[in-house]
Amino acid sequence: VQLQERFDARIDAGEFVEPKDWMPEHYRKTLVRQISQHAHSEIVGMLPEGNWISRAPTLKRKAILLAKVQDEGGHGLYLYSAAETLGTSRDEMLHALHTGKAKYSSIFNYPTLTWADVGVIGWLVDGAAIMNQVPICRCSYGPYARAMIRICREESFHQRQGFESLLTMMDKGTDAQRAMVQDAVNRWWWPSIMMFGPPDDQSPNSAQSMRWGIKRVSNDELRQRFIDATAEQAKVLGVTLPDPELRWNEERGHHDFGAIDWTEFWNVVNGHGPCNKERLAERVQAWDDGAWVREAALAYAAKQEPMKEAA
């Protein structure tokens, strides 16, 4: 009880909780779930964009995309490490992913169908991710907060690169390229604004996470911030967001927007999106195909041990 009180006081004071500190079991579990889910999103998220590395239209764009996907792998690494400080191994987390017990961001269950999708993912998906993640830089768990600071910095860079690549096509490209960009925006807009999760009144775990300082801003508020920011960027780009009800509301000081298809959202969350099965199958296949390599590395390391001791 004393431990609990000290923990609560710390949260209230806005201090970081560190790995060696006592923490409530539910706090630990909630964090492991959230951080590992975030890590899984990074590595599953490598697939839809990775899909275009071999086909990038210029060598510069190829390098940018490859570096970006590599960064996502790096984010996965930091996040797995942060989660490991809570006493769960990376292998355990991956096992949960591969067996369908752990989730990852639903956005990655949509396919990348054209090159413009890569730019739009940078602009909208990374944009939404940053909006979600910036508050986590002030999260109560120290290792997670520190990982997020680094990740957010890189994500902002990716977001600008995505926007810039779209702007190049819209400003200097051909009609066919502009049509490709608009088409990609049409397909990614709604899934992007679903990335903030269900409406606040249907988000049961949020209150506890808020209390613990794991979550700082509500789903609906983040979504509104994102829409407000993005609507302006869309004008700069010269694309139309595919929502006829989207308009500035002077009174609210925000954009109004149309109804979100939550049936689609829950379908994708529950495994029935366009690519859920394929994404997971691809990860599992890579893991299984690599088993002999990991075994060989372990066997080799084991053989080196006695030599080191002898030396």
Partner: protein, 258 residues
């Protein structure tokens, strides 16, 4: 807005650079296929990192090739608008990525070669190429270290990893000879100080590979008269598929700006 393929002058200095630039480019293209599919996350990152280094080297060398040619071709025209028969990469790098054993063994062969080549190119009579080499040589040393570590690890790991590594060697080894076949292009490069005859790197390469393969417990396949000929533009059947994928957008969106 014509998007017919470009053709490149048969100038030996340009050809010499295309051999380097195309080899780095196609090797990067193959390595990047691992991204998201490696045996562990650390390797996803390491292989992508090498692909990025190679891609950077390719861009620099292709740009320089275009300058030497003097026909106004930039790195993207050279990469995306040349036909297969005008690509000058060695065949080894265009073979399918295979399993992880194939990949690390190919990396070992190629990085050892590139290390020796870049070391020499630091004193190229072409200042631009010498500068590229100065940067590349540091990158490739890391590539070689990574590849060698893995070859030893797989060779001394499990029965299965040794078996796979030996199979990789049996498949890839015969493509190594092409690296050292010499012709007028090499002669010209050597004569003008642009760079070494590739054949002159053979002894050092053989020595490094022999040490590695010995440590890994591999049996080196016997030499055969087989010769791949990618660097003269006669590739394997894999090359066409690489290019149809790699070049698709540039071909399908004439006049596009990316």
């Amino acid at each position: 807005m014509a998007v017919a393929s470009i053709t490149v002058k048969q100038d030996p200095a340009v050809q010499y650079l295309l051999r380097i630039g195309d080899t780095a480019l196609i090797h990067a293209q193959r390595l990047a296929e691992w991204t998201g599919h490696a045996p562990q996350l650390e390797e996803d990152i390491a292989l992508a990192n090498m692909a990025l280094d190679l891609l950077g080297q390719a861009r620099a060398v292709l740009t320089r090739a275009g300058e030497l040619e003097g026909a106004g071709h930039d790195e993207d025209q050279l990469a995306f608008l040349r036909e297969e028969r005008d690509f000058r990469n060695v065949t080894l790098v265009e073979l399918p990525r295979g399993d992880f054993a194939v990949t690390v063994l190919r990396n070992a062969m190629m990085s050892s070669f590139f290390k020796l080549l870049w070391e020499q190119l630091r004193t190229s009579s072409d200042a631009e190429l010498a500068a590229i080499a100065g940067k590349a040589v540091k990158e490739v040393r890391y590539h070689q270290q990574h590849a060698f570590d893995w070859v030893v690890r797989l060779g001394q790991g499990t029965d299965e990893s040794l078996r796979r590594l030996q199979a990789a060697l049996d498949q890839l080894w015969r493509y190594g000879a092409e690296l050292f076949d010499e012709d007028a292009v090499d002669e010209h490069a050597s004569h003008t100080g642009l760079g070494p005859r590739w054949g002159d790197l053979a002894d050092a390469w053989d020595a490094e590979m022999a040490a590695l393969l010995g440590e890994a417990g591999l049996e080196v396949p016997k030499a055969t008269p087989f010769r791949s000929t990618g660097k003269r533009g006669v590739h394997s059947e894999h090359m066409g598929f690489i290019l149809s994928e790699m070049q698709h957008l540039q071909r399908a969106y004439p006049g596009g700006v990316w």
